[in-house]
C-alpha cells in the first residue's frame, strides 16, 4: 500500500502531503526533510526508486515538481509510477495544462482530486474520465451552495441573527 504522497518543489518547498499511515506531525517534518534531501539531490536519468528505511520511495519529476509516493518493499514500483502519471494527467486535465502555481493556490483541490484516485493507500479509480466527472459534480455542488451563501441578503441575515 501507499504510505504517503508528497509533492515537493525543486527548491524543497512542500506543495502537498497526504498520509495514509499514521505519522505524528514531528515525524512528518522529519520524513520530508530526509526524503527531500535524498530525492532532490539525485540527478536526472537515474532510476526513480529510492530505498528508504525499509520502504521504497517512488518519485518522478514533472517540470519543477517532484511527485513522491512511499510504498512497501514488495509493492510494484512501475505500477506506482503509472499512478503518479495518472494523477498528473488528471490534474492537467482539470486545471488545463497544470503548473506549480495552480497547485499552490488550489492546494485543497489537489487534495480532493487525489482523494478520488487513492483511498486508504490503494488505487480506487483508474479512469481519468470518471475522476473528472466526479470532481466536476462535487464542484457544482459547492458552487450552488456558494451562490446562496454569498448573496448580500444572506450575509445580513446571518449578521443580524
Amino acid at each position: 500500500m501507499i504510505h504517503f504522497v508528497l509533492l515537493i518543489s525543486r527548491q524543497g518547498k512542500v506543495r502537498l502531503t497526504k498520509w495514509y499511515s499514521t505519522y505524528t506531525q514531528k515525524e512528518r517534518t522529519k520524513v520530508i526533510r530526509e526524503l527531500s534531501g535524498v530525492i532532490l539531490t539525485r540527478g536526472p536519468k537515474l532510476c526513480n526508486f529510492v530505498e528508504w528505511r525499509g520502504f521504497k520511495v517512488v518519485y518522478k519529476r514533472y517540470a519543477s515538481l517532484y511527485f513522491c509516493m512511499c510504498i512497501d518493499q514488495d509493492d510494484n514500483e512501475l505500477e506506482i509510477l503509472e499512478i503518479i502519471h495518472h494523477y498528473v494527467e488528471i490534474l492537467d486535465r482539470y486545471f488545463g495544462s497544470v503548473c506549480e502555481l495552480d497547485l499552490i493556490f488550489n492546494f485543497h483541490k489537489a487534495y480532493y482530486i487525489l482523494d478520488e484516485i487513492l483511498i486508504a493507500g490503494e488505487l480506487q479509480e483508474s479512469s481519468k474520465k470518471t475522476v473528472a466527472r466526479l470532481i466536476a459534480a462535487q464542484d457544482s455542488l459547492v458552487e450552488t451552495a456558494k451562490e446562496q451563501a454569498s448573496s448580500i441578503s444572506n450575509i445580513i441575515a446571518q449578521a443580524t441573527k
Partner: protein, 935 residues
C-alpha cells in the same frame, strides 16, 4: 471574548489571500504565519459557518504544508462538519483527516456525524465520510460503524461500494470482530463485474494476505478465476501478489498458477505486469525451471533496456533469484559488473549485492581484489558499501568461504588503509575474532597489526580508532609472534596516541604492558642463556636450560619455550640489549608518566599498574647490567620472578565463546529473572537511568581491557551477567568473544591443533608450498568442529525466538474463523478467546491436511447437488475455465458457491445465538475447498 463582528466576516482573508501574502514574504515568513494563526483562532470561533470553514481551510493549509499544530481546532472542525452544506463538510472532513489521530479527545463525538453521513442519500457525502474513516478509524469507530459499512458493501452505487470495500481493510485491522459480519460480503464482491470494485476488493485481499497468507488459501479458486479472466492490469498485479504469498504454502496451487502467469508474461506489453510476473516467479515459483528460465529471459530484456528503472528492477529480480539459481546471475555477469560503474548509486548497490552473491571459496580472493581496487576509486559512500559487503560476505558462517586466512588478514589491513574507510568497528571485530579462532594466522595477524599501529597517519582518522584498538590488543596478546617487540612498544606509546579516546588509550596501555613484560622476559632469558651456556647460536636449548635452572613452575616454563620456539632463532632476543631495555623503560616512564594524572579512571589505573611494574623491576635490572654477571643472577632473581609471574598471567589463551554459552550456566536458587522491574524504573527516575545503564552494560572497551587484564575479571563479568540475562543478551551477542568460555567453548578451543602441530614444523621449514598445503589441511578439519558445534545450538535459539513472532494476530484469527469455520472456538466469548486462536487454528490446519482427502469425497456426494442455488457468475466462470477438466470444476464451483451461502447463514446464526451444535458439519463442508480445486 466575543466572536468576530460582521466586519470581520466580510473582510476575512480567504485562503488565496493567505497564500498570496505568504508568497510575498521573503523574510519574516514565520511572523506572517503567526499573525495569520492569530486571525484564524479568532475567526474559527465565529458563529457563521462560512467564516468558520474558511478559517478551517486556511488552518489545514498551514498544518499540512507548514506543519503547524492544529489540534486546538479539532472541536471546531466537528462544528463545521455538522453544517448541511457540502462545501463546508468537505473542508471539515479534509481538516479532520489530516489532524485527527487515535488519541484526539473529540474523536468520540464524531461517530454520529459519520453515521449520519454514511447513510446519507448524497453519494458524495458518503464518499467523504468513507475517505475520512479510512484515515481516522480507531477501535471504537470501527466497532460502532461496522453495520453501516456492512450495508454499503452491497450498495448499488458502485462509487460508494468501491470506497466501502477499501475502508473495510482499516476496519478489519482495528476491529477484527467485524470480519464475522463483513467478510462474506467482501468475498461476494470478488465476483463483481465492475473493474473498480474488483480492483478495490483485490487490493484489500492483497494487503490482508501479505500479513497472513494461510487464512486466504480457501479463496484461491476465486483469485485463480480473476487471474485467468481479468484484462485489467491493476487487478492482475494485485492478484499476482496474492498468489506470490499463497503459492509457497500449497505446492499444488503453485503448479496450477504457473501456466497462466507465464501466459501473461509472454502476452502482455505492460512492463509493470511483466515485472510483477517475473517477481512472482522468482519469489514463489522458484522450483519451476521453465518458468524461471522465461522470467530470467525477461529480466535480461530489462537489463539491456535504456530505462534505468527497468535496469534497477532487473538487477533486483536477479538478486532474488540468485540464492536458488546462481546460473541466472552468472549468465548476466558482464552486465552486472558493468553496472558497478553506473551513474546511479542505487544500481551500483544492487549490482554489488549480486557480485557478492557470486562469491565462492574459489573466487573470493579474486573478486575481493577487484572490489577493493574499485573501492579505492569510488566515492566514499559506495566505497564503504563495498567494504561492508566484502566484510559481511567473508565472515558469513564463521568465515566459511575463507581458506587462506593469511591473505584475508592482510586484506583487512589493506582495507583499513583505504582513505574513506569507515568500517573500523567491523574490521575490529573480525581481527579479534580471527585471532581467537584461527591459531595459524596469528603471526600474519601480528604483522598486519604492527603495520597499522606504526602508521601515525591512521591515528588521525576517528573511524579507525576502534580498529586500532583491535590491532593493539592483537599485538599485545600475541606478542610472541612479533618480529620486533621494541618497535611495537614505540608504536604503542607514540605521542599521537593522545588523539585516541580514553577507552582505547586504556587498551593501548594494557597492550604495552604485555609487550613490555615479554621484552623483559626475553631479555632475561637471553642474558641467562649467555651466562649458563656459552653458545649464543643455540638459543632455544639455552633458554630451556636457563629456565629449568631457575626452576619456575611448569606451566610458565612451557609457555616460555613455546613462545621462543615458534618464532625460532631469527627473532627478537638477539636484538634486545641492555641499552635497549634501558631505553624501553625510560620510554615507558616518559610516555605513561603524564597519564597518571588522567581524568579517566581506566587510563589512570592502568598507567599506574605499568609504572608500578617498571618500578619493581627497573632497579634490579639496571643494577644487574652494571655489575658482574653472576652477581646479577642473584640480584635479578626477584625481578625476573615478577616478570615470569606477569607473563604467566598474560599467556593463558582466550578462546571464542559460542553465543549460547550463557544458557549453559545454571541459575542460582532464589534468583528472580522474570520479575517485573517496572516499579524500579519509576523509582529510579530519569536521572539515575543513564548511570545504572553504564554500570550494568559496561562500555565495550572496558570489557575488553578487563578480559586481557586477567581471567578473574571475566569470571566476575559472567557472574554479573547471570543476574541480568535478558539485559545482557544483546550485549553478549555483540561482544560474545569477550565472555568467559563455558564448558562447551573450552571443548572448542581444545580442537585447535596442539602446539607442536605439523603446521608449526612447516613454519620452521619455511617451505611456502608446504605451508599452504598444510594450512589448508589443518584449516579445513579445524574450522568444521570449530563452528559445527555451536551452530545447531544457535538454530535452536532462533526457534525459540521465532515462536512468539509467528503468533497470529487477532485479525487473521477472525478471518480464519470465518473461512474455515470455528471448529473449536466458543463463539459467545469471541473477543476474549481471540488470544487462543493461533493454537486452535494450527490444529485446524493440520486436521484439514490429514482428513480432507477422505472427507472431500463424502462431501461432494452430500452437498454437491443443490446447484439451483448457484449464482450466474459461477456458471459463467465455469464456461471460461477451459484448462481444467470441466466436470470437476463444475462440481467444485457448485460446492463452493453453496458453501459460501451455507457458511454465511450459518455464520449469522452463530454470531447471534452462539450455537455450537453444527460445528462439525460446518468444518467438514469447508475443508475440502482447496484440495478439490487443485486435484
Amino acid at each position: 471574548m466575543s466572536g468576530p463582528s460582521l466586519m470581520d466576516s466580510l473582510f476575512q482573508r480567504t485562503l488565496e489571500d493567505l497564500i498570496k501574502g505568504l508568497r510575498q514574504q521573503l523574510i519574516g515568513e514565520q511572523a506572517f504565519i503567526s499573525k495569520a494563526l492569530e486571525e484564524i483562532r479568532k475567526e474559527i470561533k465565529s458563529t457563521d459557518l462560512s467564516t468558520k470553514s474558511t478559517a478551517l481551510l486556511k488552518l489545514s493549509y498551514l498544518s499540512s504544508l507548514h506543519f503547524h499544530d492544529m489540534s486546538f481546532a479539532t472541536f471546531h472542525a466537528l462544528e463545521v462538519l455538522s453544517s448541511p452544506r457540502f462545501s463546508h463538510k468537505r473542508i471539515a472532513y479534509h481538516a479532520i483527516s489530516i489532524s485527527f489521530h487515535d488519541s484526539t479527545p473529540v474523536l468520540l463525538l464524531i461517530t454520529n456525524h459519520l453515521r449520519k453521513d454514511l447513510s446519507s442519500t448524497n453519494e458524495f457525502e458518503v464518499s467523504l465520510s468513507l475517505q475520512c474513516l479510512s484515515r481516522i478509524a480507531n477501535v471504537d469507530l470501527a466497532r460502532d460503524l461496522t453495520p453501516e459499512i456492512f450495508t454499503l458493501l452491497s450498495s448499488n452505487k458502485l462509487y460508494v461500494r468501491k470506497k466501502a470495500v477499501a475502508v473495510v481493510l482499516r476496519v478489519f485491522e482495528k476491529y477484527p470482530e467485524s470480519v464475522r459480519v463483513c467478510f462474506k460480503r467482501l468475498v461476494e464482491n470478488l465476483e463483481n463485474s465492475d473493474p473498480q470494485v474488483l480492483s478495490a476488493v483485490v487490493g484489500v485481499f492483497c494487503e490482508l494476505a501479505s500479513k497472513d497468507p494461510i487464512s486466504y488459501l480457501p479463496l484461491a479458486p476465486e483469485f485463480y478465476k480473476i487471474l485467468v479472466d481479468s484484462k485489467n492490469n491493476w487487478v492482475l498485479i494485485k492478484v499476482l501478489k496474492i498468489f506470490a504469498k499463497l503459492a509457497p504454502l500449497e505446492p499444488r496451487l503453485a503448479k496450477r498458477v504457473v501456466e497462466p502467469i507465464c501466459d501473461h508474461m509472454r502476452r502482455t506489453g505492460a512492463k509493470s505486469l511483466v515485472f510483477e510476473c517475473v517477481r512472482t516467479v522468482v519469489t514463489s515459483l522458484i522450483e519451476n525451471d521453465s518458468a524461471v528460465r522465461l522470467a530470467v529471459g525477461k529480466v535480461r530484456e530489462f537489463l539491456v533496456d535504456e530505462d534505468p528503472n527497468l535496469k534497477y528492477l532487473g538487477l533486483q529480480a536477479l538478486s532474488i533469484v540468485a540464492p536458488k539459481h546462481l546460473w541466472a546471475v552468472s549468465e548476466n555477469k558482464e552486465f552486472v559488473i558493468k553496472s558497478l560503474s553506473d551513474a546511479d548509486p542505487n544500481i551500483k548497490i544492487e549490482s554489488l549485492r549480486l557480485v557478492m552473491a557470486l562469491v565462492s571459496e574459489h573466487n573470493v580472493a579474486e573478486i575481493s581484489r577487484v572490489l577493493v581496487n574499485y573501492a579505492l576509486k569510488s566515492d566514499p559512500d559506495f566505497c564503504n558499501e563495498i567494504l561492508g559487503s566484502i566484510l559481511s560476505t567473508c565472515s558469513r558462517n564463521v568465515y566459511e568461504i575463507i581458506v587462506d586466512f593469511d591473505w584475508y588478514v592482510s586484506l583487512l589491513g589493506e582495507m583499513s588503509r583505504i582513505p574513506h574507510c569507515q568500517k573500523g568497528e567491523e574490521i575490529e571485530n573480525q581481527l579479534i575474532d580471527i585471532g581467537m579462532r584461527v591459531k595459524d594466522v596469528r603471526p600474519e595477524l601480528v604483522c598486519v597489526s604492527r603495520d597499522l599501529l606504526i602508521d601515525p597517519a591512521l591515528l588521525g582518522n576517528s573511524f579507525l580508532h576502534r580498529l586500532l584498538s583491535a590491532a593493539a590488543w592483537v599485538s599485545g596478546e600475541y606478542v610472541e609472534y612479533s618480529r620486533n617487540p621494541l618497535e611495537l612498544m614505540e608504536a604503542l606509546l607514540q605521542p599521537r596516541t593522545s588523539l585516541l579516546p580514553p577507552s582505547i588509550t586504556a587498551i593501548y596501555i594494557q597492550s604495552a604492558f604485555k609487550v613490555l613484560v615479554f621484552c623483559l622476559l626475553t631479555y632475561l632469558m637471553q642474558r641467562g642463556s649467555t651466562a649458563s651456556s656459552m653458545f649464543p647460536d643455540n638459543l632455544p636449548s639455552a633458554v630451556s636450560a636457563s629456565v629449568s635452572y631457575e626452576s619456575f613452575d611448569d606451566l610458565s616454563v612451557e609457555n616460555v619455550v613455546d613462545a621462543t620456539d615458534t618464532h625460532g632463532p631469527t627473532c627478537t632476543s638477539a636484538s634486545i640489549t641492555n641499552e635497549s631495555i634501558v631505553n624501553l623503560l625510560n620510554l615507558v616512564e616518559l610516555a605513561l608518566g603524564p597519564l597518571l594524572g588522567s581524568h579517566d579512571v581506566e587510563i589512570q589505573e592502568r598507567a599506574r599498574n605499568v609504572l608500578g611494574f617498571v618500578d619493581l623491576t627497573k632497579l634490579d635490572l639496571l643494577n644487574s647490567s652494571v655489575q658482574e654477571e653472576n652477581d646479577s643472577e642473584r640480584k635479578g632473581a626477584e625481578a625476573s620472578k615478577t616478570i615470569e609471574l606477569m607473563h604467566g598471567a598474560f599467556s593463558k589463551e582466550l578462546g571464542p565463546v559460542s553465543s549460547s554459552a550463557q544458557g549453559k550456566i545454571c541459575l542460582p536458587d532464589g534468583l528472580m529473572l522474570k520479575e517485573n522491574l517496572g516499579d524500579l524504573e519509576m523509582i529510579c527516575g530519569d536521572i539515575d537511568q543513564p548511570s545504572s545503564n553504564s554500570f550494568s552494560f559496561g562500555s565495550p572497551y572496558e570489557e575488553k581491557g578487563g578480559v586481557s587484564f586477567s581471567n578473574l575479571q571475566i569470571k566476575e563479568n559472567s557472574r554479573q551477567s547471570n543476574e541480568s540475562t535478558s539485559l545482557l543478551a544483546e550485549h553478549r551477542k555483540r561482544h560474545g568473544l569477550y565472555y568467559l568460555p563455558s564448558g562447551k567453548s573450552e571443548m572448542i578451543s581444545n580442537d585447535y591443533p596442539p602446539a607442536n602441530d605439523p603446521m608449526l614444523l612447516g613454519n620452521i621449514n619455511d617451505n611456502a608450498d608446504d605451508l599452504v598445503k598444510l594450512t589448508e589441511e589443518s584449516l579445513t578439519p579445524k574450522r568444521k568442529p570449530n563452528h559445527a558445534k555451536p551452530r545447531p545450538v544457535v538454530v535452536k535459539l532462533d526457534e525459540v525466538d521465532e515462536k512468539p513472532e509467528s503468533k497470529e494476530d487477532s485479525l487473521s484469527g477472525a478471518v480464519h474463523d470465518v473461512l474455515f469455520g470455528s471448529e473449536d472456538i466458543v463463539p459467545t466469548s469471541s473477543q476474549s478467546n481471540l488470544s487462543d486462536m493461533p493454537s486452535s487454528k494450527r490444529k485446524g490446519k493440520e486436521k484439514q491436511h490429514t482428513d480432507s482427502h477422505v472427507e472431500s469425497k463424502e462431501n461432494l456426494v452430500d452437498h454437491g447437488n443443490p446447484s439451483s442455488r448457484r449464482r450466474k457468475h459461477h456458471s459463467h466462470g465455469k464456461e471460461r475455465r477451459h484448462r481444467s477438466p470441466r466436470k470437476k470444476n463444475a462440481e467444485e464451483r457448485k460446492d463452493n458457491g453453496q458453501k459460501l451461502k451455507e457458511k454465511s447463514s450459518h455464520r449469522h446464526g452463530m454470531h447471534k445465538s452462539g450455537q455450537r451444535a453444527e460445528e462439525p458439519f460446518n468444518f467438514s463442508v469447508q475443508t475440502p475447498v482447496i484440495p478439490d480445486f487443485l486435484l
